[in-house]
């Protein structure tokens, strides 16, 4: 069964304290992996797409990486405005998207 698991479920960081979020997946026919940010009561906002192992993407304080079994979202020197839930999703050969349950990030000033 296709599965996406995110860890940790929740993470509290001091402002400026770098860390990483993990997304591991067991799927057949992976076509791509996506990271989204979701603020409370809003729809997810697209961050990155990764298609092949070894690929990396960066945007401001965020950097996403992909291996054959997992992806990491690295957050460097986070700010309070980075507080949100970060969702990982994979698209498989049938064009379905499977989302993880997310990591709730809180950055304390």
């Amino acid at each position: 069964e296709d599965q996406v698991t995110q860890s940790p479920e929740a993470l509290r960081l001091q402002e400026g304290e770098s860390s990483s979020l993990n997304c591991s997946y067991t799927v057949s026919g992976l076509r791509g992996l996506f990271w989204y940010r979701q603020d409370p009561g809003k729809g997810p906002e697209f961050l990155f797409t990764l298609y092949s192992a070894g690929e990396e993407k960066e945007k401001e304080r965020l950097k996403a990486t992909l291996t054959k079994k997992e992806s990491f979202l690295h957050i460097t020197a986070p700010k309070p405005e980075d507080s949100a839930t970060y969702l990982c999703a994979v698209i498989v050969s049938g064009n379905q998207f499977y989302f993880g349950t997310g990591t709730s990030l809180t950055v304390i000033p």
Partner: protein
């Protein structure tokens, strides 16, 4: 440019009633997805359209749920005989290609009393 819009933003209905949720995708996007999200969970796939036809409706939980996209743009998710368990945030997303990144609307919060 205009993003994905969904109406209504909130819908409260009584158990057993019929509801329609509307999604206006980004102009030119051929793929449109519907998801359901419960509190503390990730979005759960319901159905996706490529153009006018439902390419995959395997995520619809039962035959009370139905969705259409008659002209390949606006889509409507229809729920008959609503149950309290249908209460959730319903999200719509569109993408320029089926396998590319999705752009989400703000969602419709459905509450069945």
């Amino acid at each position: 440019g205009a993003g994905v819009s969904q109406t209504p933003s909130n819908k409260v209905t009584e158990k057993g009633k019929y509801v329609e949720l509307r999604c206006d995708p980004i102009s030119g996007h051929t793929a449109l997805y519907w998801y359901r999200q419960s509190l503390g969970q990730g979005p759960e796939f319901l159905i996706y359209f490529q153009g006018t036809g439902a390419a995959d409706d395997s995520g619809l939980p039962n035959d009370r749920f139905f969705a259409v996209r008659p002209e390949g743009s606006v889509s409507t998710l229809k729920i008959q005989r609503t149950e309290r368990g249908d209460s959730a945030m319903y999200l719509c997303a569109s993408s320029p290609l089926v396998s590319s990144e999705q752009y989400f609307g703000p969602g419709t919060r459905l509450t069945v009393t």
